[in-house]
């Protein structure tokens, strides 16, 4: 009897302890690509922006579904990281639907969420289809270890390998690959993204600088120039943000 009583207490303690370690997870989305040409019409001396052609930008708002639950509609804009959306623990599927899409319609995006941690989903339009109706994705962990403050991650969303010069360091970054470096706050670090050039040595198609404050992290996104009459085959965007404080732990009951 005494032994059984002790075991019950032990199991209860474990359950409470396990529940306390379950922290809410979240996912964010970042669509990369080029805006379509701006079009307007003038009526009564007032300029009105015209709606871009269907498929030339990502859905303006999406709803995240995970199992039976679904989020509120959240805006999705090119080059801007979306608001964080809560997701359940453990692995499983996630689906994104346009805000107006029916619950039983084919989702705009379906992906498998990692088992642990927060993550960022990079989105870009399919090169062959050339439309945002078909979207490619890449999941980037955003846990405090992988994306700690002071980190700089290069991500290649383009469909070609690119050369990277990071200070004196030179390396090749294959499509869908990531590499990470550390950068002290306040330091300006120059970098270049290069593409092979049949006429000679690799040609720099982007030269830039990464700098960040202490407690910030950066993301250097390399993506295919997918707009009208692209000026260069590949574009680069640098996203910098403070590393969010760990969310308050919640006890799941």
């Amino acid at each position: 009897m005494k032994r059984l009583y002790f075991s019950a207490i032990w199991i209860s303690a474990l359950a409470v302890l396990g529940a306390e370690e379950e922290t809410p997870r979240q996912v964010r989305f970042l669509a990369v690509g080029e805006l379509p040409p701006f079009r307007q019409e003038i009526r009564d001396n007032v300029r009105y922006e015209l709606e871009p052609p269907e498929g030339s930008i990502p859905p303006r708002e999406v709803v995240l579904g995970s199992g039976e639950e679904k989020s509120a509609a959240t805006p999705l804009r090119l080059g801007q990281i979306s608001a964080a959306l809560k997701i359940p623990p453990g692995s499983g599927s996630l689906v994104l639907r346009r805000r107006d899409a029916a619950d039983d319609s084919d989702p705009w995006l379906r992906l498998t969420r990692p088992e642990n941690g927060d993550f960022l989903v990079l989105l870009w339009r399919d090169a062959k289809q050339g439309t945002w109706r078909q979207v490619n994705s890449l999941v980037l962990p955003e846990d405090p270890v992988t994306a700690a403050s002071g980190s700089v991650r290069f991500v290649n969303c383009a469909d070609v390998a690119v050369g990277i010069k990071w200070g004196a360091e030179k390396l090749i970054l294959e499509p869908r690959n990531v590499f990470k470096r550390e950068l002290v706050g306040g330091v300006e670090q120059a970098f270049q993204v290069l593409l092979p050039d049949s006429a000679g040595p690799p040609k720099a198609i982007h030269s830039g600088v990464v700098t960040q404050n202490p407690s910030e992290r950066s993301l250097v996104l390399i993506y295919r120039a997918d707009g009208a009459s692209p000026r260069r085959p590949v574009k680069v965007s640098v996203q910098r943000e403070p590393v969010p404080s760990p969310p308050k732990k919640e006890v799941l009951r």
Binding site: E34, L35, P37, F38, R39, Q40, I42, N45, R47, E49, G79, Q80, E188, A190, A199, I205, H206, S207, G208, V209, N213, E216, G227, A228, S229, R231, R232, K235, V236, S237, V238, Q239, R240, E241, P242
Partner: protein, 547 residues
């Protein structure tokens, strides 16, 4: 559009501003973005194609719309060498980020920063070591504060596209004309040309825009034309009336002591021989008298139709110390920061904007041949300005001067024309502009040069060539070969003896009968005026078989 709220004590913005927050003007790009190009009544025309250094003056202080500019129809509403932007990704935060090179951040005057070159060196200033030795060097001078004038006025000869009224029409004059009589009295800056808005929030009455423009220009349009062919006018005044003796007072003193040992910076300057009295340093340093004491050694007559002679002249910079000596350099600036650029090299290399132009032998040959063609077509040139300037004629010769035409016809800039093309094949279409403009596309597209990169350091211009050969050019010869014949006949008329002789004579600056100043003939242009003194440089008897 998300707005990031920043901490008052430690603001660290991280949200990238939306492109729709961007407003301002900038110089037009060599390749405009599709949002601008595809907008309005002039969508997908060559409206944005401009040669910013050929037909505009980015150094100008006065950026005002003249009546002869093209105006975009339907946004972005702007004109001339500049533009506003519709909200294209090309002008977004990421795309406009300056580019780090060599520890500095660089922009790009002609496109997004990522497409820029390391350096853009466009204008030179005289160096203490050399001073000014050629009138062609004045191409670097900012002679005008008005945006619509050319950047390199002196020595170049492109017709101002504001003169044209379609095809070659309008090239027989040097100033743009008004289409409305009431505006003509105001140099074109009247409301009937500059327009007005029917919207009271944009213009307070019909005259407001025009009177504001005139006010900005100091009311000068009421007395004078401000939109005219600056290159033509300045060349006309300069090349026939002025020359550069070169050298400081000290250098001229030394030159007088020993001309061979201490030549002037322009080594072609020699003391005039055969004139009455010895030159004094006061003569050489006097603005009016220096020319009476100096002569150019080996002056070249621009009316020459000998290809070999032109080749020799053009190739005279071969040993100038630029490059490896195998090419013929025509550097725009005396100390270029990049190396030689030859036609066929990459149009995107740093040498295009910060190097210098070099010709090979075949290019020199083509240029000399093309010059002779132009000389035969346009000559004889009655003065140096006549050679430098375009013809005031409504035909091909009215578009540009002989040298520039020869450069283009020889294809010396073909790589840059192909790399940075400017569509000048047809005039822009007109359209009904809501701001009561009689013609919103008056700047004649077909009179612009064929490349937006006109004026790049590697783009050979007429002024670049004149900068080098200008000091030795003349439109007339001053030395002549004279042959004479004489015979002796007897009383029957029979020739007893014959003789032939030959003299080489040199015209000097000294009048035969000078006026009080000593500079001009006392009877200039009148009966009995024998002009300037000739001296015999050589004389010989000829044998019959030399005749």
């Amino acid at each position: 559009m998300p707005i990031q709220l920043l901490s008052k004590t430690a603001p660290t913005p991280t949200v990238i501003p939306n492109v729709r927050t961007r407003e301002g003007i900038r110089m037009r790009w060599f390749q405009e973005h599709p949002s601008n190009v595809g907008a309005g009544a002039l969508a997908n025309t060559a409206y944005f194609d401009e040669a910013l250094l050929a037909n505009w003056n980015p150094r100008a202080s006065f950026v005002v719309r003249s009546p002869w500019e093209n105006i975009g129809g339907g946004g972005p509403w702007f004109f001339g060498a500049y533009t506003r932007d519709l909200f294209d990704q090309a002008v977004s935060w990421d795309e406009q980020m300056p580019v780090p090179r060599g520890g500095r951040f660089h922009g790009n005057p002609f496109g997004p920063p990522q497409e820029g070159n390391g350096r853009y060196i466009l204008f030179d200033v005289p160096r203490r070591e050399t001073g000014l030795v050629s009138l062609g060097q004045l191409q670097h001078a900012k002679l005008s504060e008005l945006i619509w004038h050319p950047s390199y006025a002196v020595g170049n000869s492109l017709a101002d596209p504001r003169l044209g009224t379609g095809g070659f029409l309008g090239l027989n004059r040097t100033s743009a004309i008004s289409s409305k009589k009431e505006s003509a009295k105001l140099g074109g800056f009247g409301s009937s040309e500059l327009g007005w808005s029917n919207d009271s929030q944009r213009s307070n009455g019909k005259e407001e825009w025009a009177s504001t423009a005139r006010s900005i220009l100091g009311e000068v349009p009421e007395q004078d034309n401000l939109v005219y062919d600056l290159s033509f006018e300045v060349n006309q005044k300069l090349w026939d009336r002025f020359y550069l003796s070169s050298g400081s007072v000290a250098e001229k003193k030394k030159f007088l002591e020993n001309p061979d040992k201490n030549p002037l910076p322009n080594g072609r300057m020699q003391l005039a021989s055969g004139v009455g009295k010895a030159a004094l340093v006061e003569d050489l340093t006097d603005f009016h008298h220096a020319a009476s004491r100096l002569m150019v050694d080996g002056a070249f007559n621009v009316n020459s139709t000998r290809v070999e002679a032109w080749k020799a002249l053009l190739g005279s910079t071969r040993p100038a110390g630029f490059g490896n000596g195998n090419g013929v350099p025509f550097p725009r600036v005396l100390a270029p920061q990049e190396g030689a650029w030859r036609n066929g090299d990459s149009p995107n290399s740093d040498s295009v904007w910060a190097g210098y132009r070099e010709l090979d032998e075949s290019e020199v040959d083509r240029l000399a041949t093309a010059i002779v063609v132009e000389v035969k077509k346009r000559g004889p040139f009655l003065s140096l300005a006549d050679f430098v300037n375009r013809r005031l004629a409504e035909d091909e010769t009215g578009r540009m001067g002989a040298l520039q035409a020869a450069i283009e016809k020889a294809g010396l800039n073909s790589t840059l024309v192909t790399g940075f093309p400017l569509d000048n094949r047809s005039s822009l279409p007109n359209y009904t502009h809501p701001d009561n403009l009689p013609d919103a596309t008056r700047m004649e597209q077909t009179l612009k040069p064929g490349s937006k990169a006109w004026g790049a350091a590697a783009y050979l211009t007429q002024a670049d060539v004149l900068q080098v050969i200008g000091p030795v050019l003349t439109a007339r010869s001053d030395s002549f070969v004279i042959r004479a014949y004489g015979d002796k006949v007897d009383s029957g008329g029979n020739v007893q003896a014959r003789a032939w002789c030959e003299a080489v004579v040199q015209r000097t600056p000294e009048p035969l009968v000078p006026d009080e100043s000593g500079l001009n003939p006392v009877l200039a242009g009148q009966s009995g005026d024998f002009g300037r003194r000739f001296i015999i440089q050589s004389f010989r008897w000829l044998s019959p078989d030399e005749i």
